[in-house]
Structures are given as C-alpha cells and as structure tokens.
C-alpha cells in the first residue's frame, strides 16, 4: 500500500509535482502514466525518500520510507537502471544491497536466476546492455521480497521476450497480493498489464481510476469506421452534421463521437454505398492523448493531419 497525500515538489519557480493525492492498492498493477516531465519520476523519488517534498507526504506500508530500518522488505524499486557503479559486478552490487539487510548470499543467487542474468552477473556493469541493467535493477528490487514494488519504465531497452517477461512478472507480483506501481510509455503494454491507472500531467492528478472506467469514460470517445467508394460525398455529408471526420491511409473514414446508426442513416440519405461500418473501441493511447493533451510539455510539431471540419 502506498499513500500519497498532497505531495508537492517545487524547484525554484517550477512546480514539478503539484498537490498529488492518490493511493496505490495491493493486489493490483497500478499504471502510472504521464507525458515526459509530468513528475512521475519525481513522485516515485519522493515516495522512496530520495527527494524531500516541498509539502505533503508519502507513506509506504503506513510509514515514511526514509524511517525504515529494513526498507528492502517494505519496498523494492527500479528507478534508473543506469544508476549503478560501472566498475562493480552485478552480483557484487546485489551483495552490497544484501549486506545492508543481513540477507543471505543464497537469496542473491536466487534473484540473479529469477531475472535471468546468469553468468553475466559476475561481469562488471559497465559492459552491460540496457536490458541487462534493467534485469539487474529488477533483481535488486526483488531482493528483499518486498510488499511494494515501484518500476519506472522497466521495459525500456528490453526486447520482445523481455517485455513479455516483465508483463508476466508484474502480473504475478500483483497476484501474490503485492502493491505494484508501474510507469511506462508503452500504452499497448499498459493496456494489457495494468488494472488501475494514475495519470498525471504537469505535476497534477488527471485521473485515478480503474482501467475499465478510464476506457469507458467520457474521454473514451466512440468512433466509427466506414468504408465507401464515395469518400468525398459521404465525408461532406458527415461534416455538414458537425461530425469530426478523419480519412485513413487505407481510404476509410473515421467518424468521431457518432454511432454506426447515425453514419448509416447519413449514407442512406445521400445515397452512397457503404461496404463496411464498424464501431471502434478507443485504445488506451487515444484516451491517454485526449486526457493529457493540455499538459504535454515537450510537444513534437506533427505534420498536420487532414482534419476537416
């Protein structure tokens, strides 16, 4: 259980985290989403007592993390896979962590096997690929068999096998009753893995709801895909009814916020043939983009899509 209450972090004039309040419940995978610079990492660092909040508090298992005598049993975290002394072997890195808690050596070898680091564990970290560093970071997080796990972008740098492995691992940890907070930019991954979502933008809470509710909320707009030989004619008719219409590369039309019935009726009215008409469920990516649209700090100027009005 993680309890975040009014958490705020101010750097000079910039408010990186602004009065965040949310809980992360055990037995679930909670996805932590937000654009770059939204304050996800800073929030995780404050939960772990690395950065001091300007205001508010964060409790892990009912206590501030920085007061714990045996923190690795309370929470394990992978924040930045690169934050390891490059000259030390992965195994020695884990042995140092184990020493701080009197954890026996065999547990170190156990987690090395669990993450599949194998013989590489005895090599120095400077020769590791990003994927191997991620595995080492996950091994470190698991070392103390903690009740709470925080993973910041654990899928970065992993190949498809690695991503699937993380998905199963995270799922398994939550099923064992642990609290899992997982941040990722991979929306399709998050859609498959998370049960609950905490979405922040510009340091503020945008949404704190179950995946089910987010996907069916008002932002999860319905779209209809329609295929017709008379694209221009149908698009024109739909636009006259103030519907948003996007052409797709495949020559279909996507109609926002309309039901298939409406689109079908319009086609009948103007007398054009319809070869396909289907309702599309928005992906998490679309919902997320709609939710965070106003809060994105670093926006890439896209080539303007053909949005007709």
């Amino acid at each position: 259980m993680i309890e975040v209450r009014g958490l705020t972090k101010q750097y000079g004039v910039i408010r990186a985290v602004d009065d965040l309040t949310f809980d992360v419940a055990p037995g679930k995978v909670t996805g932590f989403l937000g654009p770059n610079g939204a304050g996800k990492s800073t929030t995780m660092r404050m939960i772990l007592g690395l950065d001091r909040p300007t205001a508010g508090s964060a409790l892990v298992g009912g206590r501030p993390f920085a007061t714990l005598a045996e923190p690795l049993h309370a929470a394990g975290a992978l924040l930045d896979a690169g934050a390891v002394h490059p000259g030390r072997s992965g195994r020695d890195h884990l042995r140092v962590a184990a020493r701080t808690h009197g954890i026996p050596q065999r547990r170190v070898d156990e987690v090395i096997d669990q993450v599949g680091l194998g013989p590489a564990a005895r090599r120095r970290v400077k020769g590791y690929s990003l994927g191997m560093r991620q595995r080492l970071g996950i091994a470190t997080a698991l070392l103390g068999d903690p009740a709470v796990l925080l993973f910041d972008e654990p899928m970065n740098g992993l190949d498809l096998d690695g991503v699937r492995w993380i998905r199963r691992l995270v799922r398994g940890l939550a099923d064992e009753g642990r609290t899992v907070l997982l941040s990722s930019h991979l929306m399709s991954e998050m859609e498959q893995t998370a049960d609950h979502l905490v979405i922040i933008g510009a340091g503020r809470l945008i949404a704190d709801a179950s995946m089910h509710d987010v996907m069916r909320g008002e932002n999860a707009q319905r779209r209809v895909r329609v295929r017709t030989p008379s694209v221009d004619e149908l698009a024109g008719a739909l636009l006259r009814r103030n519907l948003r219409v996007h052409p797709t590369d495949g020559g279909d039309l996507l109609v926002e916020g309309a039901s298939p019935e409406t689109v079908g009726d319009v086609a009948l009215e103007v007398g054009v043939a319809v070869h396909r008409l289907a309702q599309e469920q928005s992906s998490l990516e679309q919902v997320y983009l709609d939710l965070t649209g106003d809060s994105v700090q670093y926006r890439v100027t896209e080539t303007p899509e053909m949005v007709q009005r």
């Binding site: 007592g49 001091r52 923190p71 975290a77 934050a83 002394h85 072997s89 701080t100 068999d145 642990r178």
Partner: protein, 257 residues
C-alpha cells in the same frame, strides 16, 4: 511474500550492516586497489629512498630514526589513500548509485556514520601498515634506530593525519558531490597550498598557509613548520570538523542527488 516486520532491528544493528556493506563496496571496485597500490609504492618507495640517503635527511647531519621513512612516505603517499576515500563518496554521485544506496539505507544519519568510519579507517590502517613496512625497510637498509616507543608514537601520528585528512575528504566529497571538484579542493588544502604559500616569501601568505589543514598534517608528521601541538590539533580537528558538518548537512538535508 513476507509479513510486515513488526519488530525492527535497533539502530546499532542497522549501522553494523551499513558498515559491512560499505566495506564490501570499497573492496569490490578496482579503483580502491589501484589507490592502495599507488600508496604502497609511494610510501614504501619514498621510505627506502630516504634510507639510502639517511645522512642528508636532517640539517644537523645526525641520522634520523627509522620511523622518519614512514613519515616522509606518508607525507606524499597519503594522497593515494585520500583519493580512495574520496572516490568512495563521489563515485556514487557520478554514477547515480547514491539513489540505490539510499534506498537500502534510507536513514541518512546511519549512512553518514558508516561512510565516514569505514573508508577513513581503511585509509588509516593502510597508512599505518605501509609506514611500518617503510620503517622496517629503512632499519634493514641503513641500520637506523628502531625502538618500540618511536614506532608507536610515529604510527599514532600517521593514523591521526589520515583520520583527519580522510574525514576532510569525505566531508568535501559529500558537500561538492563531484570527484574533480572535491579532489582539487582536498589537494589544494592538504598539499599544494601549505607548501606553495610560504614559498612566495610574503609574510601574509606564509601566515595564511599555516592556517590550512595540510600545515597541521605536515607538522604532525615532520615537526615543521613552527607551531604548537595545540595549534596543529586545532587545525586537524577544526578543518575536518567543518568539512564533516558541511558534508553531513548536504547528505542529510538535500535531495539524494
């Protein structure tokens, strides 16, 4: 999944574990062993060279005791050991490893205590052992006098210099968080300025030089320049104390870094 640990170990146990972890940290990076090798070569090497040139060491031409070998050796060789101490602190800021370190030992006072004691003690013990080797070498080479009293007194002073210098290095390292910056600062305070400032022949510069921690260290090792034991002690304790307060503040109050 383990149940919540209701009974936590006491602070002394937590410190003990942090200290053994610190010791393992020190042993498992190559830079530590390179520094020890450099210290061994410098301390024993200078001691041996001094022994071969024993009749020219003192102004009076009297033969020095064999312990002078270790003292001259440590005068320069201490820097290899101070670099070892400094890297134990600043490398974590360079690599970001301070974040995991603080996740394992989030009670920062405990980490500070372990980080001050373990690398500094290791440096002091290494200096004492290497100085003793240099003393024995000088005794064998030049047949210089080697009495138990001299050795105890000399090694005690060497330990004091390394403890003061080591705490200074830890404090500066924690405060500046940068290897280059901390290294430059410790070198200037401990070696360069104490030797350089008097060399200009300007009174106020010489006076300034005598206020630096390195002057206290040189006096403790060689009995020069002119100052009282109380002055030297004040310099060593005062500078390392100030550095420890600044570094401790930085570790305890600032964000992890």
């Amino acid at each position: 999944m383990t149940a919540v640990h209701l009974q936590e170990p006491g602070t002394l146990t937590v410190y003990g574990r942090a200290a053994t972890a610190e010791w393992l940290r020190l042993r498992t990076v190559r830079s530590t062993w390179w520094c020890l090798l450099a210290a061994a070569v410098t301390i024993v090497g200078i001691g041996v060279i001094m022994a071969f040139d024993a009749e020219n060491v003192t102004a009076s031409g009297d033969l020095p005791p064999a312990t002078a070998a270790g003292e001259f050796g440590v005068l320069l060789g201490q820097f290899a050991l101070l670099v070892m101490v400094l890297l134990a602190v600043t490398q974590e800021y360079a690599s970001g490893a301070i974040a995991p370190t603080l996740q394992w030992t989030p009670r920062r006072g405990v980490l500070l205590a372990a980080r001050v004691t373990v690398p500094v003690l290791a440096a002091a013990v290494a200096a004492v052992l290497l100085a003793f080797v240099a003393d024995v070498a000088a005794w064998l080479i030049a047949d210089l006098s080697l009495s138990t009293g001299d050795v105890t007194d000399s090694l005690g002073r060497i330990a004091a210099v390394l403890v003061a210098g080591g705490v200074l290095a830890v404090g500066v390292g924690l405060f500046l968080r940068s290897t280059a910056g901390a290294l430059a600062t410790v070198f200037l305070l401990q070696l360069v300025l104490p030797f350089l400032l008097p060399a200009f022949g300007v009174q106020w510069m010489a006076d300034l030089g005598e206020l630096l921690p390195g002057s206290g260290a040189i006096w403790t090792l060689l009995g020069e320049p002119e100052m009282s034991a109380a002055q030297a002690t004040t310099l060593l304790v005062g500078w390392s104390g100030v550095a420890l307060v600044a570094g401790g503040w930085s570790l305890l109050r600032r964000d992890a870094g």
